[in-house]
């Protein structure tokens, strides 16, 4: 079977190999295009994510696929399940899927310190003009399966803000993402799969 393929390969020649490489490249390019297009529509950098931890069990398990949106004109609400990253000041920057349990919406154009101003003091002045379209929002999140809120995960931040959030969970598809987890846990599998696919693409006659 294999020797037959090898013979075909030799017979079809260099142009055929080039054509297959081109086909392969176009498949990858269209995949990337769809991914980026979806990201543009939903306004998130990654519209589809795979759950990697068990902190939202029993809602989401490892390997579940989540579809995200991040509408620019909409405020986050308590109960929304968000994916956030707090920057990579120390340690790896892993996106976290947790639920919003507190929101504090400040008046439009208010600076960050606004929310902390003690009620006994005079009301702080709002800047005369600013470019904000939606009010600033301070948030606190918590994993359904965790006992405490996420303050410890914010790496020194007191509150989560919109700029840290990748998107909120809109739709859900179970188990499908487990393939990527398996590939992360066993890198050999990834190389075997990639190599096999590449070889098939080159050899196949169609």
């Amino acid at each position: 079977m294999f020797s037959e393929s090898l013979r075909d390969f030799r017979r079809l020649g260099f142009r055929h190999v080039l054509l297959q490489v081109l086909n392969f490249a176009s498949v990858i390019a269209s995949g990337l295009m769809m991914w980026k297009g979806l990201g543009l529509i939903t306004n998130t950098e990654s519209p589809i994510v795979v759950v990697l931890s068990g902190s939202m069990e029993p809602a989401f398990y490892r390997g579940d696929l989540l579809f995200l949106t991040n509408p620019a004109s909409e405020q986050y609400k308590t109960g929304d399940i968000t994916i956030y990253r707090t920057g990579d000041r120390n340690g790896p920057d892993i996106p976290i899927v947790h639920r919003v349990i507190e929101t504090h919406d400040m008046p439009l154009c208010a600076p960050e310190s606004f929310a902390f101003t003690k009620p006994t003091r005079r009301q702080p002045k709002l800047p005369a003009q600013c470019t904000d379209k939606v009010p600033r929002q301070l948030m606190l999140t918590k994993g359904d399966n965790n006992y405490a809120d996420d303050l410890e995960l914010y790496r020194g931040l007191d509150w989560l803000e919109r700029k840290h959030i990748v998107g909120k969970v809109k739709g859900f598809l179970p188990y499908i993402g487990y393939v990527t987890i398996a590939m992360n846990d066993f890198p050999q599998l990834k190389y075997a799969l990639l190599g096999g696919l590449g070889l098939l693409a080159l050899i196949q006659r169609e």
Binding site: M1, E4, R7, R11
Partner: protein
């Protein structure tokens, strides 16, 4: 010879028959599976029906049963002309 058994070839009529059976029954299975789950309000039924029926369908459709090999093609005898070289695997000029 080994690869022949492994490849389990079927003839042209068999291929068309197999395709018709596969498409028709999978559509039917999907509809029945949905209704079964919807009526009982249990998703377990849906996937039990879908999985079970698909496994049975695979048994019907995948092995080279005699009914898929009942119309063996009759090829014309090979004509040997000068300038045309006939190989075992195919024809090349």
């Amino acid at each position: 010879m080994d690869s022949q058994i492994l490849e389990a070839r079927i003839d042209f009529h068999g291929q068309s028959l197999m395709e018709k059976i596969t498409k028709g029954s999978l559509v039917l299975i999907t509809v029945v599976a949905f209704l079964a789950g919807f009526v009982t309000q249990s998703m377990q039924y849906t996937f039990a029906v879908f999985g079970g029926a698909s496994a049975m369908l695979a048994l019907v459709v995948l092995p080279p049963w005699p009914m898929y090999n009942s119309h063996p093609p009759t090829w014309l005898p090979a004509i040997v002309e000068p300038g045309l070289v006939v190989e075992k695997t195919g024809i090349s000029k």
